[in-house]
Symmetry: C2
Subunit: 491 residues, 2 copies
């Protein structure tokens, strides 16, 4: 397979699809809309999981596991929830196959029909709150701070690898609290955890905000979101944290004896991020040569390629590389040495460029003699020869620099793509010509929000938390507004 | 809820069920046969996962993720495989719910019927081999050494928490090789990895063996098993590694260009362990006071309980405990300090005994004065007062000693419950009165194996790898036999 990618400027969407396949991240499976996450893609997810899991535990959360299936009737208990999810559910109706008596092969055994259909979880609020009912009696049982790593299924009609798939992997936090304030604080805390993860590990600058009523999670009173901007000027919702009020507690009758001796419904939050983050990672940093991975999430941060003419040279280089690798690993740097004799150095260079390995080291006989090594950084594609003497500290600093550079580059792009507009003409023009976030006044109604979406395909991404009060008029209706909100076309 | 458990000698099965619930490991959910794994139980699974994952990676494996659903037709492709799994499959037939027009609430939308039904994976050989077909062209693409951490569904009729549940968590390794020898070696290697994990981490002595044709995995040429013995004398299959020959490669047409220029089918293995291991862990070590956890898998190895009469005392003890905890953590020991003022020390002692924490430390004002601390070990329930001076090294050694003691205790029990018998009368008597493994001659036929099971409920657990040649006559048929095999009643 050719490693050559379509250029982003030619067809961004095609570039993305090709890159996911060629960099060995994921592929479509035999099941419509479901992907196979290949080892290299999964290794990125494992890195993400490890960091997030650490952050969740540091903030007092524990992991647990709840059933894959949810009784159909549970979905009816929270009215807005069912509206949000019923349309895209995989439904289990039978529990047995059999050999067809007329020789047609394997068929569903009609005698094994379930009394009540089971839904493959699209999210777990309902089954979890049905469980919490038995766990919470008193304020002493609160808070419950629980997270689940799981797969979920949503029957999406149009799917794209990582970005929108019928099955995806995620984590879903579900917490229960004694007070309104504590639950709200928890939702905000996890919003902040997601922000730190996106910025410090994914090197993706994000905008923190809240969703409008129209874009809120089905069943939430407030949805906190982190919004990222992709290179093609489209926004991507990278994580959400929901303040659920007492909606699920009421739907599943979860009451607790308060400290004061009363009885009250429990306050709830839920929050999640998914394998879609891998799509965001790709689309934020990568270039026409392939993937560009931030060192903090790269499956391996450094690859070393030997350049040799004969076995003796290879052996000499390998001996030196083993020594260097040991030193690099000792300071926590992950290293891969590719000494395969089946592929040429040029092929390997292209391969690791495509796979976004942050730093590539190449060593030939001349380097061995000069006690030097060639260092290539993936973010800028720049190369230089450095002395072996300072290699470890050089690489350590370089990885830090690459991580920071990727963030700075993405932030500069993002900042230059937030455009204030004051008329609807301008709105449409910026959206079509420049893209990115459009900062505009909005009258606060769902009606206007929907109308703008209908006319432009832009959605109201969020009301930024840091937006300042400012008197203005709605870009569409002309009605009064007291702050700007962000619109964009979005993934 | 009372912490008092039914005694094992009274009703082992009841003891187990109560212990799983009371120690907060798991509980039944609203979905028949599916469990909720509670945080404490899940923390044990996380410990197991971490060690196994490390061992898999050290032996060259990578993780990946394959779809939850498998097209029904895939199951027909490998004949014995479908026989093994068709009877217990959850079947997805529809992909949408809707509001019933006659007001009956949410119903399945009949217009959203799938053309081909999807099966919730009971195991992933079929979907994975359908994928490998595209990954393997040449011997250069081999071996593929891939593992998946996932949930699977098997519609079991009789379920028990951890031991047999309709959904369980597991890992499934699926490897592809160029030669018979290499694949067989891989299956044996993973058999050894499971053995080391069971013995070194779970402290469960196991017997390594192979399954008879009758008990083999559906589609395997050889199934390697590790068999453990529970305290009630019943065996438990703790992990299996399968040599699949070319069966799946043929079923899914996975051929490769050999080094020699030919074309051949790929050789395969698969291997897995599940959350059932938690059941094995419980039933091997625990006692009438509750869970007993080996230090190498305990969510926390040490709990510290303060004993105080007033806040001033608590503050003094806490200051000292924080110092000690820091020292313990510095040498890699996990510590929990339970300074809750809502529960009395006696309550906490019972709680951590029930939860099997390996070492409990208790500190009161007298201890503080004497620079001493009370140390209680969970395995023997013995207590002693030791000087604070040597605490860290004392606890470190004690944890090692507990780990070894649990293994030695279980091994001594197991060894005394392998009984050689030479007549069928003896066979039945030992099975009923003593239990455990019965070492007996067998004529090698499935017919005899099935007959013995029918008459005694004992299954042929394995042909031990270390069994020596020995001339004898089959305990049931009287026919000639050249080695003993192991029978037992089993979970």
């Amino acid at each position: 397979m050719s490693k050559k990618l379509t250029k982003r400027s030619e067809d961004y969407s095609k570039w993305y699809n090709e890159l996911v396949i060629k960099a060995d991240l994921a592929e479509n499976s035999a099941v419509r809309g479901m992907m196979v996450i290949k080892p290299y893609g999964y290794a990125i997810w494992e890195k993400m999981q490890a960091e997030l899991d650490r952050m969740f535990k540091e903030t007092g959360h524990q992991n647990a596991y709840f059933p894959l299936f949810i009784p159909k009737s549970f979905f009816s208990k929270e009215a807005s929830h069912v509206e949000g999810f019923a349309k895209e559910c995989a439904v289990v109706t039978h529990y047995r196959l059999k050999n067809d008596e007329t020789g047609k092969g394997i068929v569903v055994d009609e005698s094994a029909k379930l009394e009540e259909e089971l839904i493959v979880r699209p999210t777990s609020e309902t089954i979890i709150w049905d469980t919490y009912k038995n766990w919470v009696q008193s304020y002493r049982d609160l808070p419950l701070l629980i997270n689940q790593w799981a797969n979920v299924v949503r029957w999406e009609m149009r799917t794209r690898l990582f970005l929108r798939t019928a099955e995806f992997l995620w984590q879903e936090g579900h917490t229960a609290h004694a007070t309104y304030e504590e639950a709200l604080e928890e939702a905000e805390k996890m919003h902040e955890v997601y922000t730190r993860f996106a910025e410090d590990f994914m090197a993706i600058p994000i905008i923190k905000g809240v969703k409008t009523e129209n874009e809120r999670f089905a069943g939430a009173l407030e949805t906190f979101t982190i919004e990222a901007l992709m290179q093609d000027g489209k926004a991507l919702q990278a994580g959400t944290s929901h303040f659920l009020g007492q909606n699920f507690a009421k739907a599943f009758d979860v009451k607790f004896a308060t400290k004061e001796g009363g009885l009250d419904y429990v306050w709830a939050t839920s929050w999640g991020v998914t394998t879609r983050l891998i799509g965001a990672l790709i689309m934020t940093h990568s270039d026409d040569a392939g993937l560009v991975l931030p060192p903090n999430l790269a499956p391996f941060q450094v690859v070393i390629v030997p350049i040799y003419k004969n076995e003796e040279q290879l052996n000499q280089i390998t001996a030196k590389v083993n020594e260097l690798s040991k030193e690099l690993r000792a300071v926590g740097i992950s290293v891969k040495y590719d000494d395969r004799t089946t592929h040429k150095p040029g092929w390997k260079f292209a391969e690791y460029e495509l796979k976004g390995v942050p730093v590539r080291l190449a060593m030939g006989p001349r380097d061995l003699e000069n006690k030097s090594i060639e260092v290539a950084r993936r973010d800028t594609l720049k190369k230089e020869i450095i002395s072996l003497e300072n290699l470890t500290s050089f690489v350590k600093n370089l990885l830090k620099e690459i991580q920071e550079n990727l963030f700075a580059r993405a932030k500069s792009f993002r900042d230059s793509h937030v455009t204030e507009v004051d008329t609807f003409e301008e709105f449409k023009e910026v959206l079509e010509v420049k893209g990115g976030f459009i900062s505009a006044h909005w009258d606060g109604t769902t009606e206007t929000e929907k109308k703008i979406k209908e006319l432009t395909k832009a959605t109201l991404r969020c009301i930024p938390l840091n937006s300042k009060e400012e008197v203005g008029t709605c870009v569409y209706s002309g009605k009064v507004s007291n702050r700007r909100v962000l619109f964009a076309k979005a993934y």
